[in-house]
């Protein structure tokens, strides 16, 4: 009985308010003139990357003897290679599709690792104030390592590859994420329903899962969506430095690095992957911004 009473006490339990809020959420997101096209574009890119093996007109790793073909819209371009070929004679469109796939995968997995570990740590320190100083001081130490440096160190130990880059990016996202989760969590822990939950004898695990996590998750997700763009950018930078995917695997940052040598003669080789990175990051950032605008209750009032 008491439990239902506390629930009815006007505290924002998202589960109960769900149907109405969700509709509004979608509507205001689609009404946003920047967010809607950005989201559609991002979705198109994700789908294209997902179905790369079906869409790609050529084998991304096969070298043809037609090197440095310009894209179709330039004078000497052909429909055979819509975006032209690189200096090894590989189809840039196919490589960009596969490359986007890998770039997105690196970003998603890294943000997943960083998000799960980081927010767990942050929320735990919000809940148990005794371990808070310990976790946060370690966190501060981790904050002082830039992702690129961490990537370099990991690659030095493990050798270049996609996995060390993902791990480096994941680890690098932990401290930021933990900080955000902690501050959100502390706010939630101050709410009356937590005390009420304790009063009815809920276990720590139940409080963590039912109140703390559910009330913090949307804010954390917003942060992660904003962070996603950054992670992709750093991932591409690491690949650009030759630390990421090993040839012949294509990755957008690596494609840009390889095109650098021929920038004066065949600028499309470096430009196309760079533009794709730019578009992905821009779309991810705009979408993240819009999500924050519609989801963050503090901005609504």
């Amino acid at each position: 009985m008491t439990v239902t009473e506390t629930h009815g006490g006007g505290t924002p339990e998202p589960e109960n308010a769900a149907p109405a809020a969700r509709r509004a959420w979608w509507r205001s997101l689609l009404a946003d003139r920047a967010a809607a096209p950005a989201m559609l574009l991002l979705m198109a890119i994700v789908l294209a990357a997902l179905f790369a093996p079906l869409i790609a007109p050529h084998d991304p790793n096969a070298n043809s003897r037609a090197i440095m073909q310009p894209p179709v819209w330039s004078e000497r371009g052909t429909a055979e290679y819509l975006l032209g070929t690189d200096s090894q004679g590989r189809d840039i469109l196919s490589r960009a599709l596969y490359g986007t796939r890998l770039t997105l995968l690196i970003g998603l997995v890294a943000i997943g690792i960083g998000g799960v570990i980081g927010s767990t740590l942050g929320l735990l320190s919000a809940m148990y104030r005794r371990i808070d100083p310990w976790i946060m001081r370690i966190n501060d130490m981790m904050l002082s390592f830039p992702a690129i440096l961490l990537g370099l160190a990991l690659v030095a130990v493990a050798g270049p590859g996609v996995l060390p880059v993902i791990v480096a990016l994941g680890i690098a996202s932990i401290p930021d994420c933990a900080r955000i989760a902690r501050s959100i969590g502390i706010g939630v822990m101050g709410q009356e329903y937590i005390e009420a939950g304790r009063a009815v004898g809920l276990s720590d695990w139940a409080i963590f899962r039912r109140y703390l996590l559910r009330n913090s998750i949307s804010s954390i997700m917003i942060f992660l969506s904003l962070r996603f763009g950054q992670i992709i950018l750093i991932g591409a930078a690491l690949s650009f430095l030759g630390l990421g995917a090993r040839p012949p695997t294509s990755e957008l940052g690596m494609m840009a690095a390889q095109g650098r040598d021929t920038l004066m003669f065949a600028p499309h080789i470096a430009t196309i992957p760079s533009v794709v990175i730019f578009v992905i990051v821009l779309c991810a950032n705009i979408t993240g911004d819009a999500l924050r605008d519609v989801l963050d209750p503090r901005l609504q009032t």
């Binding site: 790793n61 096969a62 070298n63 003897r65 090197i67 200096s87 090894q88 004679g89 590989r90 050798g159 270049p160 030759g242 090993r246 040839p247 012949p248 390889q258 650098r260 040598d261 021929t262 920038l263 004066m264 003669f265």
Partner: protein
């Protein structure tokens, strides 16, 4: 944006000299030091040839030995004693007169175990080096060494000043260098630039130079510009007047540039290849190595990746190099992917699910170590794509120059990418195929008593025919075993400003300008 910033930075950095009789030479990498006995880098040799002199010199044809510090020399009939007679009036940059004792000191330091020089073997099996009088040097060997005079033209045999070495200690070749060359050390800012000024009293240049000294140039700046597009722009905008480090892709454009001239020599003995560790599970099979050689289209590589500026290679040394066995020409492995597949099928390497072949649980996916940087990245990816077409899944691992040399001294890899300068078959074969040179530079683990014996026969030969015959046997054996995959021979290409008189490109150790005595502005 980044580009324009770079060009801007170069413009500022290079704008300083180029007035009067001074030039800027741009190049890709710096050396770790300029001590002739402690660096094998081409970038060290380039500078040392100008700062110092050797007893004998090599003409641009890469085969004629001519005078250097020695005006003449005699070789005893048994090939064991070389007597050099020095020119008169040779002085170090600090003004001190050079004597035979200085030559003895320099050569002895080269072979001294304490110096721990990686190139000590190049001096032969020395019995003793002495100076019977101040103008004579006697070089005595335990066994004849047919390569000796060629080796003595290299920068490793540069004559240095004992006082200078002792005074500077560890900093010799870092903070200073006192030599007898046409130019004198001024300053070195590592990974930025090295400056040198004219040696005013110089007048003992080799006979093949019209100008025996002093040099026409009052000063030379060697500027490091790692980015290849930036180097090209530096030449086009006359911020630099000479370089041999222009990417192949830009050469066509350079030819059309009104202010630039391109000189080229095909007698440059510098070959790019991939070597295989012959005791590793996959590449230990001679059939695999043969198939590797057949699967790669060197002609397409030379045309597409190097823009036709290089010669496709099927042999391990240039076919123009001294002691190349011409009968091998017809036996070299040339592009034939169908034959490669057939050989692999026959040897029992069956394609797996992903197209990469397997045999007895071993995947045909050799790991190749290469030096990071645009050249090897491009070469390795080309080779990788070619090999994949016949079912060989080569994996590439690139390392920065600072760790690469350590990595290729290990036993971790199956293949490696390398390029090297040489002057003759003997020079190349003794470097790479002697069993005592394992694990490096004999990174293939080519451990064959017969080869060692033939190589010794070649080294100890006192006449040309015996030497050529001995090296021919080794050439046949290693080509037959397909220990390497040759890629291309790189010619010496120098791009120069038309303000300068046309340069005769040299090729010694890949140092295109050699002593720099003919560098001169047009009048």
């Amino acid at each position: 944006m980044r580009k324009s910033l770079l060009y801007g930075a170069v413009a500022v950095a290079l704008a300083l000299p180029a007035s009067g009789q001074e030039i800027n030479i741009v190049r890709e990498v710096d050396s770790n030091n300029y001590d002739p006995h402690k660096s094998t880098a081409r970038s060290a040799s380039e500078v040392l040839f100008m700062l110092g002199d050797t007893l004998v010199s090599l003409e641009p044809d890469m085969s004629t030995i001519t005078d250097g510090l020695a005006k003449e020399w005699e070789v005893s009939d048994d090939g064991l004693t070389y007597t050099f007679h020095l020119k008169d009036g040779i002085k170090f940059c600090d003004g001190r007169e050079m004597t035979a004792e200085d030559v003895v000191y320099s050569l002895k330091r080269w072979i001294d175990p304490e110096t721990n020089s990686p190139v000590a073997w190049r001096a032969g099996e020395v019995k003793d080096i002495t100076a019977p009088d101040p103008k004579t040097v006697k070089y005595e060997l335990k066994a004849p060494f047919s390569e000796l005079l060629y080796q003595l033209t290299q920068s490793f045999a540069t004559v240095i000043d004992k006082n200078n070495v002792e005074e500077l200690g560890e900093d010799f070749g870092v903070t200073g260098f006192n030599g007898t060359g046409p130019f004198c050390w001024q300053e070195w800012l590592p990974r930025d630039r090295l400056t040198m000024t004219r040696h005013e009293g110089y007048g003992w240049g080799p006979a093949f130079y019209q100008n025996k000294g002093p040099a026409h140039m009052a000063g030379i700046t060697w500027q490091i510009v790692p980015e290849e597009n930036t180097r090209t722009v530096a030449l086009m905008t006359n911020q630099s007047q000479v370089t041999q480090y222009i990417p192949a892709i830009a050469l066509q454009q350079i030819r059309q540039a009104p202010n630039l001239e391109l000189v080229r020599s095909d007698a440059a003995f510098w070959t790019y290849f991939m070597g295989f560790k012959i005791d590793k599970p996959s590449v230990s099979d001679p059939a695999v190595r043969k198939a590797l050689n057949l699967a790669v289209d060197q002609e397409a590589l030379a045309r597409d990746i190097m823009f036709g500026e290089v010669t496709p290679a099927y042999s391990y040394i240039s076919e123009n190099a001294l002691d190349w066995d011409k009968t091998l020409n017809d036996k070299l492995l040339r592009y034939d992917p169908e034959e490669a597949k057939r050989i692999l099928d026959e040897a029992g390497w069956k394609p797996g699910e992903d197209g990469v072949r397997e045999k007895d649980g071993v995947r045909l996916a050799p790991v190749a170590y290469i030096q990071s940087g645009s050249t090897w990245q491009k070469l390795a990816e080309f080779v990788q794509a070619e090999l994949l077409k016949v079912g060989i899944g080569m994996q590439i691992q690139a390392f920065d120059a600072t760790v690469f040399w350590g990595k290729v001294a290990t036993q971790e890899f199956d293949a490696f990418g390398m390029s090297y300068p040489y002057i003759s078959a003997g020079d190349a074969l003794n470097l790479y195929f002697l069993s005592q040179n394992m694990p490096t530079p004999n990174r293939m683990n080519w451990d064959d008593p017969e080869t060692d014996e033939w190589l010794a026969e070649g080294r100890h030969a006192t006449d040309d025919a015996t030497r050529a015959a001995a090296y021919a046997k080794v050439l046949n054996k290693v080509h037959d075993a397909a220990v390497w995959l040759p890629l291309y021979h790189e010619p010496m290409t120098i791009v120069q400003s038309k303000e300068l008189e046309t340069i005769v490109p040299h090729n010694i150790y890949g140092a295109g300008l050699y002593k720099g005595l003919d560098l001169k502005f047009r009048e």
